[in-house]
């Protein structure tokens, strides 16, 4: 079986932002769960590491948090994207797509293209 890839911090942050962008306000477990689902279990988050990251993002001001009630009616911390976060997500999405495109083209290239 292939080892599940460790998620790099930067990528994880981007995933968190995108998740919040798509689903709106979400608690930590929800975010972790969502990332797991979308990545097809390929990226198993060592879930705990999410919390320091959330704190960092909050301190940077790209997300905000407040207490709310979870589905089993307990107190949970809900995170949402701020306006600044939305802007950053846009920028980073562009960056990512650009990088991915370049890498993609690189792999698509055949020997005769380069000659």
């Amino acid at each position: 079986m292939k080892q599940k890839t460790d998620v790099l911090q930067g990528t994880l942050a981007l995933m968190v932002l995108k998740t919040l962008d798509v689903l709106g306000s979400l608690h930590g477990y929800g975010i972790a769960r969502r990332i797991e689902q979308i990545s097809g279990d390929l990226l198993a988050v060592n879930q705990g590491t999410l919390y320091p990251l959330l704190l960092k993002l909050e301190q940077e001001g790209v997300i905000a948090s407040e207490w709310g009630a979870s589905e089993n009616n307990r107190r949970a911390r809900f995170y949402r994207l701020t306006r600044e976060g939305r802007k950053q997500l846009q920028v980073e999405t562009q960056d990512w797509e650009q990088t991915a495109a370049i890498i993609g083209r690189f792999f698509a290239a055949k020997a005769e293209d380069l000659s």
Binding site: P52, L55, Q59, E60, N72, R75
Partner: protein
């Protein structure tokens, strides 16, 4: 921007960390709960579901740690924790803490004081703008800077290197403010003085070059700020007031800025008057006398882009022009540049040498203190090896443990430094207001400034790191497994370890300090009991300057004669002599060129000797206690119309006539061509400084070489206080307004002995501090070695070892180190005290008394320090000790 925001939030979080810990806990709990629910829904048993949830979450502690690191200022948090822990550790061993703090306080305090003096005298002496380009002109062949006024004018007008050249001289005047006449020291300054120094007046205006219109043309006074403060009570209306200077009316035109005391750093003049008023202020007009070198110093700012070497070349070309143009007055003139603040190299050089030496010693003290504390620290670290091992075993990183040790070291050094700086500031404050001489306006403005605090803080931190670094290797090599297994067993080997080296270095340094202080103190004692060529005990000196109350020309000698007679008639007075200059009191240069009778060309370069010149009354030798070796002293018949005569000293006779026995009756010439007959020879003496080599001197009759400077030497067995009152009354009766200074001659000699005294005092203090340091160092080492080997010593005693053997085992090593260190220090000290010979009279380091003293001192210090540990070693009860382990 973002990182700043993060930092600020972190700072805020740091303050509210409890709430955040709670928040994380809650979030984790919720996370696990949700995951568990999910797992149960997937068909796991509740217990397994929770287990899986926790597994999936990952290392809870790691997350918490990371979260904290992300949230707050981890570094500061840890630092605070370290500081608190260090405080607890230090409180647990108050003895160690006290020794360390006191040691550091002394060492850092000594450094702060010495550096402050160095800073005030040498690094930042004058409070004038752009002082770095300000240079004084001194003579090339000797460290003095006297110029004649015409030569000064030529230098000023012909040079192309300086902005402008200012000049000044110092003098004492009688200042009559309308109520009484007081003596005051003044600076006679050239008109461009303040402008060249780029100063602005505090009040009113300064005088300028445009105010000078020939002799006595500018009757203006600029008050020094301090004098205005003390003598004119901060009176803002003082500008425009008229006061009497030597009975001439002068107008106060301004007050100088607060921190400006003239351009001689330790000399505080009361006010400034224009140099062109020399006749009214000093009593003679030498503005046109090219051969009279009386202008104390000339100085100026170098033009931008001119190097000192270029300026010297420029000045020397003017010098050779002067020599060619005025061969009769100017001999070969060469010049060098020096800082004006300490009178060029005359004081600058010895002061610089001495202060550098002292700074070095102070540095050594600090180093010794660091070595001392370093070995104590290493010993402590060894004692704590169990604790360290345990912490290592529990997973602390070595870096973390080292940081803890350094925190402790820095905490100690900061405590010591604070105490030291506090003490030194108090000392410096009192030093700054101290006026060592009643006669001179001498003050050492050594108040600490920002530089001093900065350097002291730097030294404090550096020493903390230095002694904190000693046990580093030890900690890095700690093997927790070994230590926990075997307990704290000291390795007792003959291996020479860093700690021993530190102790040897420290003892050597202390021995250097003790040696130099002994050399200095012994030199001082000797200088106090040497032969000065006069006997200052039982002599009262009363001095005044007759110009101050307006005596001039022919009215001076009769007044002086009347004064002598008046004082002679006081009961109990044995003899009264008058001189225009009191040896070792007056201070200053009084050389005059003399020529052999056969010289025809009386150029300065042909001079047979440069003789110290005195004008004296007939009874002077009696009163001063100077022995007349052959011939006669003067009588009142050696007057204006009698043939010119002189009494010379032995050195003069040797230099000019070849021998001191055949001199009487022979003739010599002065530079103005007068032939003078020698009528007597007296013993050599010390005239300007106690450390000077024998100098030629000539004594001239006061009637043939009149002077308004008047020193009455009154020899009597009466109690000085009573006698002084009687003398004062006697002189008042002749002239009530005449200001008079009266004091025992040997007290008045303080000025001449000042340097040696200060040197001896400074070195003495250093020596005491050094001795203290070596005591604590040896004590620490010996106590430690005894405590480490208690078990071994106990076994030895149980097996029947004698007291002597026990002592040898316990302290032998300490004494070996002491011997090695002392020997090295003694050698170094002897080399170092050659430097002392500059300042301290007859400082001969190879003096057997000094050598014996040092050896004795170090040995007794060793004994003293080892006493308590030795007692402890001897009082070991083997049975008790062996049962304990």
């Amino acid at each position: 921007m973002k990182s700043l925001r993060r930092f600020l939030t972190r700072g805020l979080n740091f303050a509210t960390r409890r709430a955040h810990d709670e928040r994380l806990r809650e979030e984790i709990e919720e996370h696990i709960a949700l995951q568990t629910t999910e797992n149960i829904r997937a068909g796991l048993s509740p217990i397994e579901a929770r287990r899986q949830a926790i597994l999936k979450f990952g290392g809870m502690e790691g997350v918490r740690e990371e979260y904290r690191a992300e949230r707050g200022l981890l570094f500061i948090e840890n630092l605070l924790r370290d500081v608190v822990f260090a405080f607890r550790m230090l409180r647990k061993s108050p003895g160690f803490t006290a020794v360390a703090v006191v040691t550091l306080a002394f060492a850092i305090g000594a450094n702060a004081v010495v550096f402050s003096v160095l800073n005030a005298l040498i690094l930042h002496p004058l409070h004038v703008p752009q002082s770095e380009s300000l240079y004084g002109i001194q003579h090339g062949n000797e460290a003095s800077s006297y110029q004649s006024y015409p030569d000064y004018l030529d230098l000023r007008d012909r040079n192309r290197s300086f902005d402008d050249l200012a000049a000044y001289d110092a003098a004492q005047v009688g200042l009559d403010n309308g109520e009484n006449t007081a003596r005051a020291w003044v600076l006679l300054a050239s008109g461009n003085y303040f402008d060249e120094l780029r100063l602005q007046p505090f009040l009113g205006r300064f005088f300028h070059a445009s105010d000078e219109h020939g002799a006595n043309s500018a009757p203006y006074i600029v008050l020094a700020y301090d004098y205005w403060h003390t003598h004119f009570q901060d009176d803002f209306g003082v500008v425009g007031r008229t006061v009497q200077v030597n009975k001439h009316p002068y107008t106060v035109i301004g007050v100088a800025p607060p921190r400006f005391h003239g351009t001689l750093v330790f000399f505080n003049p009361a006010f400034f008057v224009p140099l062109v008023d020399q006749e009214q202020v000093e009593g003679m007009n030498e503005l046109n006398a090219r051969g009279k070198r009386w202008v104390f110093m000339t100085m100026g700012h170098l033009k931008a882009g001119v190097t000192p070497a270029q300026a010297v070349a420029d000045l020397n070309s003017i010098g050779s022009y002067l020599e060619k143009t005025y061969p009769k007055d100017d001999d070969q003139r060469t010049f060098t540049l020096a800082r004006p603040s300490l009178y060029g190299d005359y004081l600058g050089k010895p002061v610089r040498t001495f202060m550098t030496g002292l700074m070095l010693l102070a540095g050594l003290i600090l180093l010794a203190a660091c070595a001392n504390l370093g070995s104590l620290f290493a010993a402590r670290a060894a004692d704590r090896s169990r604790e360290v091992a345990l912490r290592l075993a529990l997973g602390a990183s070595r870096g973390r443990i080292l940081r803890q040790l350094f925190t402790e070291a820095l905490l100690l050094s900061l405590m010591g430094g604070t105490v030291g700086i506090w003490g030194s500031v108090a000392l410096l404050r009192s030093l700054s207001v101290w006026q060592p001489f009643s006669r001179w306006p001498i003050q050492l403005p050594v108040n600490p400034d920002a530089y001093v605090y900065g350097v002291a803080l730097l030294l404090t931190l550096a020493s903390g790191f230095l002694f904190g670094a000693v046990p580093v290797r030890q900690v890095l090599h700690t093997d927790p497994y070994e230590i926990i297994k075997s307990g704290s067993i000291a390795r007792v080997g003959s291996r020479f370890i860093v700690r021993d080296l530190a102790l040897v270095v420290q003892i050597a340094i202390c021995a250097v300090l003790v040696t130099s202080s002994m050399v200095a103190v012994r030199g001082l004692l000797r200088s106090l009991h040497s032969n000065f060529g006069f006997e200052p005990r039982n002599v009262l000196l009363a001095d005044t300057d007759l110009t101050m109350t307006g005596y001039r020309g022919d009215s001076v000698p009769p007044m002086q004669k009347r004064m002598i007679e008046a004082v002679e008639s006081i009961p109990g007075v044995k003899s009264v002599g008058l001189s225009d200059w009191a040896p070792l009191v007056s201070g200053g240069e009084r050389g005059a060129d003399v020529f052999t009778d056969v010289s025809a060309d009386l150029k300065p370069s042909n001079a047979a000797a440069d003789a110290f010149t005195f004008s004296i009354s007939p009874e002077y030798f009696d009163a001063a206690g100077t022995a007349l070796l052959s011939g006669r002293a003067f009588t009142w018949h050696d007057g204006k119309n009698a043939p010119p005569v002189a009494v010379i000293n032995q050195e003069f006779a040797r230099k000019v006539f070849g021998s001191s026995t055949s001199a009487t009756g022979r003739y010599f010439k002065r530079s103005d061509g007068t032939r003078i007959q020698v009528v007597g020879v007296v013993e050599d003496g010390k005239y300007d400084r106690v450390t000077e080599d024998p100098r030629p001197a000539m004594f001239l009759p006061i009637l043939q070489s009149p002077s308004t400077q008047t020193y009455l030497a009154v020899r009597s067995d009466r109690e000085p206080g009573q006698l002084a009152a009687a003398v004062r009354i006697a002189v008042r009766r002749l002239d009530a307004g005449l200001p008079l200074y009266i004091g025992p001659w040997h007290k008045e000699m303080d000025t001449a002995l000042f340097a040696s005294r200060i040197a001896a005092m400074a070195l003495g203090v250093m020596g005491v501090v050094g001795a203290m340091l070596s005591v604590t160092g040896i004590f620490g080492m010996a106590a430690y070695s005894v405590s480490k080997r208690l078990k071994e010593l106990g076994i030895r005693m149980a097996l029947g070892a004698q007291r002597r053997e026990v002592l040898q085992a316990a302290l032998g090593r300490a004494f070996k180190l002491l011997a090695v260190g002392s020997a090295a220090g003694l050698l170094l000290g002897i080399l170092a005290s050659r430097v002392l010979a500059f300042v301290v009279y007859s400082a001969t380091p190879s003096d057997p008394l000094v050598l014996a003293g040092v050896v004795l001192a170090m040995a007794s210090l060793g004994l003293l320090a080892a006493w308590i540990p030795a007692q402890r070693a001897l009082s070991i009860d083997p049975a008790l000790l062996l049962r304990e382990e």
